[in-house]
C-alpha cells in the first residue's frame, strides 16, 4: 500500500485541540493530502474513527538485552503497534544498562531490524545505573539519545544529581528522574494510608516520592537545567511541580494511565499485578492528577510499560517485582475511564500522548498535515472489548485489568506510511 486513503474518519488536530471529518491521503510514507472526497488505489474505511498523529510513549521497558524472558524489542514493538504507539522510548535498565554510545547504538540497530515501530533508546545518568559516576553523556548524545535517567534506581546522591543536571547541558540532554527515596519507601508495597493499614501490607509513604521531587526541583533551579519528573503519582508532587513552574524552573512531568485510573484500594486482592512503583495512590491523588492533565500542569501521559514473566509475578506480593504491562491497555483504559466519562476531551487526551511527549523530548511535534511523515494512530472510540492478557503481543501478561470491559480500542497503527497493525492483526 504505497498510495491509500483513510476515508471518512475524524482527523484530530492535537495542536489546536479540534477535530474535523476529513480524508487523509498517504503516499510513499508521507501525508500527501488532507481534505474532502479524496481517493486512491486503496481505501481504509475509517467511518466513526478518530485519526490521530501517532502516539508517543516516553517511558517503556523493552527488557532487551538481558531480560528477554520478560520482553524483547520485537515483542514490545508489536505490543506498541497494537496499542497505537508509533514511537516508544526504551528505558535503560537493561543488562548491561544503556549507559554508553555502543549500547544505545545496539538498541537502535536492533530495533531497526526487528522493531515494528520507532524505538528511541534512553540513556543512564550514571555508569551502570550505580549512582556513583556520570555516564558518558557525550557518547549517548552522539548515538541520538535525548534523555537520561537511572529509572528504577533513583540517584540517591544530591551531589551526583546536581552534577548530572549541569553536565547534561553540554550535550543537550534532558535529565529525567524516577523520584523515590529508598530509605523512606523501604519494603513498601502499598501506598501508606488507610488501605495499607487495612490490608496489612508494608507501607510506602508518599514522602518517598515527594521529598525527591522537591530535591530535584531545587537542584534543577540551581543548575538552571531542565528536569523531567517521571510518573508523578501524588497530589503534593504535582503541587511542588506547579509551584516550581511558576517560579520559572524548567520542569516537565508525566503521568501513567494506571495512576490516572486506579487506587490503592485494589491492593486488597493481594494480587502482585497491582504492585507497581510508585504504588497506586488514593482517590484524592487520582483526582489531582486528572486535574493536572486538564489544566496543563502535567505535560504528557507515559505508560511505564513494565512487562514481567509469569514466574516473576506468580509469587507473594512482597517479593514480586513491581510493574504493570501497559502498552496494549492504555487507550482502552483512558477512553473508558476518562473520555467516555466526560472527564477529559478526546483532543486533550490525545495531545498528551502526541504533542505533550514530543515537546518534552524536544522533537518535532507530530501532525497530520501535507508533507508530514505518516505516523498515524486510528482509534475506534466506541469499540467494546474485554482485556484478555493471553491476547497481548507483549510477553508481559502482568495487568490488574484482566477481564475488564473496555470501550475504545486502537483500530490501526501506521508507521512511515506502513500499516503495522490493523483490526487485531500485526503487519
Amino acid at each position: 500500500m504505497h498510495n491509500y486513503v483513510l476515508k471518512n474518519g475524524f482527523v484530530v488536530d492535537t495542536v489546536n485541540l479540534t477535530k474535523a471529518k476529513k480524508d487523509v491521503l498517504i503516499r510513499d510514507g508521507m501525508v500527501a493530502e488532507v481534505g474532502e472526497n479524496l481517493s486512491a488505489d486503496e481505501t481504509i474505511d475509517c467511518t466513526g474513527m478518530l485519526i490521530s498523529p501517532g502516539l508517543i510513549d516516553i517511558h517503556t521497558h523493552l527488557r532487551e538485552p538481558g531480560f528477554e524472558h520478560k520482553e524483547t524489542i520485537e515483542t514490545a514493538t508489536k505490543a506498541a503497534a497494537a496499542g497505537g504507539f508509533t514511537t516508544i522510548y526504551a528505558m535503560p535498565n537493561t543488562e548491561p544498562p544503556c549507559d554508553d554510545e555502543t549500547m544505545a547504538t545496539f538498541i537502535k540497530k536492533r530495533a531497526e531490524s526487528v522493531g515494528l515501530v520507532n524505538v528511541e533508546p534512553v540513556g543512564c545518568i550514571s555508569q551502570g545505573r550505580k549512582g556513583e559516576f556520570l555516564a558518558e553523556m557525550g557518547g549517548l548524545a552522539k548515538a541520538g539519545v535525548v534523555m537520561v535517567t537511572d529509572d528504577g534506581s533513583p540517584v540517591a546522591s544530591a551531589n551526583l544529581m546536581l552534577l548530572a543536571l549541569k553536565y547534561s547541558k553540554a550535550f543537550g540532554l534532558l535529565v529525567a528522574d524516577h523520584c523515590e527515596d529508598k530509605s523512606l519507601s523501604g519494603k513498601g508495597v502499598c501506598n501508606e494510608g488507610y488501605h495499607s493499614t487495612l490490608y496489612g501490607l508494608h507501607p510506602s509513604p508518599k514522602s518517598a516520592e515527594e521529598t525527591m521531587v522537591a530535591r530535584d526541583l531545587i537542584l534543577a533551579h540551581e543548575a538552571d537545567s531542565r528536569i523531567h519528573i517521571q510518573h508523578v503519582s501524588t497530589n503534593w508532587s504535582l503541587e511542588l511541580i506547579k509551584q516550581s513552574k511558576g517560579l520559572g524552573t524548567k520542569v516537565t512531568c508525566e503521568v501513567t494511565p494506571h495512576h490516572l485510573t486506579m487506587t490503592d484500594e485494589m491492593l486488597g486482592s493481594y494480587d502482585p499485578n497491582c504492585k507497581v512503583n510508585p504504588p497506586l495512590r488514593t482517590k484524592e491523588d487520582v483526582e489531582a492528577l486528572r486535574q493536572g492533565l486538564i489544566d496543563g500542569s502535567i505535560d504528557c501521559i507515559a505508560t511505564d510499560h513494565a512487562p514481567h514473566a509469569r514466574e516473576d509475578k506468580e509469587v507473594e506480593i512482597d517479593i514480586a517485582p513491581p510493574g504493570i504491562t501497559g502498552l496494549e491497555t492504555a487507550i482502552g483504559q483512558l477512553f473508558t475511564e476518562l473520555v467516555h466519562t466526560n472527564i477529559i476531551s478526546v483532543e486533550v487526551l490525545l495531545s498528551k500522548m502526541t504533542t505533550g511527549p514530543a515537546t518534552v523530548m524536544g522533537i518535532e511535534v507530530p501532525e497530520i498535515k501535507t508533507g508530514k511523515k505518516a505516523d498515524i494512530t486510528i482509534i475506534n472510540p466506541e469499540k467494546e472489548w474485554t482485556v484478555d492478557p493471553k491476547e497481548f503481543y507483549s510477553l508481559g501478561k502482568n495487568t490488574p485489568l484482566a477481564g475488564k470491559k473496555m470501550k475504545g480500542k486502537v483500530f490501526a497503527t501506521i508507521v512511515s506510511g506502513k500499516v503495522v497493525y490493523k483490526d487485531g492483526k500485526i503487519g
Binding site: 494510608g193 488507610y194 490490608y199 496489612g200 508494608h202 493481594y270 509469587v315 512482597d318
Partner: protein, 308 residues
C-alpha cells in the same frame, strides 16, 4: 453446622456470626481437652500440613495438637528443612503438598497476603497462622475466647493493644475481631510503632500509657522486637520500658486490669515478669485455649466449600 467458607485467611472479611460460631464451638472442644482420653474422630483420614516458613513454638504445636486430637494425619514442614531452601517457590511447594494429599494447609509466613495468594490455586482449606504484618486470625480468636471465658462476654469490653502495632499481625486481627464482637479498642505506643490512619479502622489512639490504662478493662501487650530499636523506631529499650512497659507499678495503679500477651515475651522489655506471672495475666490460659479454638476452626471449615 459449619462455616460457609473454604479458608480462614483473616478476620477482616469475617462476620460477627462466623466469629461467634467459632467461639461457641471452641467451648465444647475445650471440654474435650479436659477429658482423660483427648481424642475425637472428626478429621479421621484427613491430612493437615503445617507449613511454617518462620519459626514458631506455640502456634505450630497448638495446630499440631488440635489436628491430632481430631484424629487427622499431621505433617510439619519448616522452611529451614524443606526445598524452600533450594529456592522452590510457594506455588510449587503447595502443588507438591496437594499432590501428596493435603486437605488443609496451615501456613505461617513472613509474606503479607501469601495465604490469599495460595487460596487461589489450592482447593483444600488454607488456614492463616500468621502472614507478615497482616493477620494472625487464630491468635485473635483465642484472645477473644479467653476474654469471653474470663469475663463472660466481649461486647462492651474495652481492650487496649499496647506496643508495636505497626508490625503486629496479632494487633490487626484483634482489632478486626474485637470491633466486630462489640468491644471498644484502643492502641497505645509511640507514633513510630503505630499505623497511619489506624483511627479510621475505629480504634482510639494513645501515646501516653499512664493516661490510657485507667480507661480500659484489658491490656493486650505485644512483643517488641529488638530489631525495631536498630531501625530507629524507638530510642532505647530502657526508654521503651519506662514509657510503654507494663510494669508492676502500673498494674498496681490499675488493679482492675486483665493482662494478655500473645507470646513470646521479652521479660523486662515490654512486660514485668511479676506482671506476666500474676493472677491478672491470662498468658498460659491463652495458650491452652488456642488448641480448642484451632480445633473449632479445623472442624468448622470441613463443611465449607467456597469462600463466602
Amino acid at each position: 453446622m459449619g462455616l460457609k467458607r473454604k479458608d480462614l485467611l483473616g478476620l477482616k472479611d469475617m462476620s460477627r456470626e462466623e466469629i461467634g460460631l467459632i467461639l461457641d464451638s471452641a467451648e465444647s472442644f475445650k471440654e474435650l481437652l479436659g477429658r482423660e482420653i483427648k481424642k475425637a474422630p472428626v478429621l479421621r483420614g484427613k491430612t493437615v500440613v503445617n507449613l511454617f516458613m518462620e519459626p514458631s513454638t506455640r502456634t505450630r504445636t497448638s495446630f499440631e495438637l488440635a489436628a491430632k486430637t481430631l484424629s487427622a494425619n499431621v505433617i510439619n514442614i519448616s522452611a529451614s528443612t524443606s526445598a524452600v531452601q533450594k529456592g522452590e517457590c510457594l506455588k510449587d511447594t503447595v502443588l507438591t503438598l496437594t499432590a501428596l494429599g493435603a486437605d488443609y494447609i496451615v501456613i505461617r509466613t513472613g509474606m503479607c497476603g501469601a495465604p490469599h495468594f495460595m487460596s487461589t490455586f489450592f482447593d483444600g482449606h488454607v488456614l492463616n497462622a500468621g502472614d507478615g504484618i497482616n493477620e494472625h486470625p487464630t491468635q485473635a480468636l483465642l484472645d477473644m475466647y479467653t476474654i469471653k471465658e474470663r469475663t463472660g462476654s466481649i461486647e462492651g469490653k474495652k481492650v487496649l493493644i499496647l506496643g508495636d502495632v505497626r508490625h503486629s499481625r496479632v494487633a490487626r486481627s484483634n482489632i478486626f475481631g474485637l470491633l466486630k464482637m462489640g468491644a471498644e479498642v484502643g492502641v497505645c505506643g509511640p507514633p513510630t510503632l503505630l499505623l497511619k490512619d489506624i483511627e479510621q479502622l475505629g480504634v482510639k489512639v494513645h501515646h501516653n500509657l499512664d493516661e490510657a490504662l485507667p480507661q480500659y478493662d484489658i491490656v493486650n501487650v505485644l512483643r517488641i522486637q529488638l530489631e525495631r530499636q536498630k531501625q530507629g523506631l524507638f530510642a532505647t529499650s530502657h526508654e521503651y520500658y519506662e514509657h510503654y512497659g507494663l510494669t508492676n507499678s502500673r498494674l498496681e495503679k490499675n488493679p482492675h486490669l486483665i493482662v494478655m500477651h500473645p507470646g513470646p515475651m521479652n521479660r523486662g522489655i515490654e512486660i514485668d515478669p511479676a506482671v506476666a506471672e500474676s493472677d491478672k495475666a491470662t498468658i498460659t490460659t491463652q495458650v491452652t485455649n488456642g488448641v480448642a479454638v484451632r480445633m473449632a476452626v479445623l472442624y468448622l471449615l470441613l463443611g465449607g466449600e467456597s469462600n463466602a
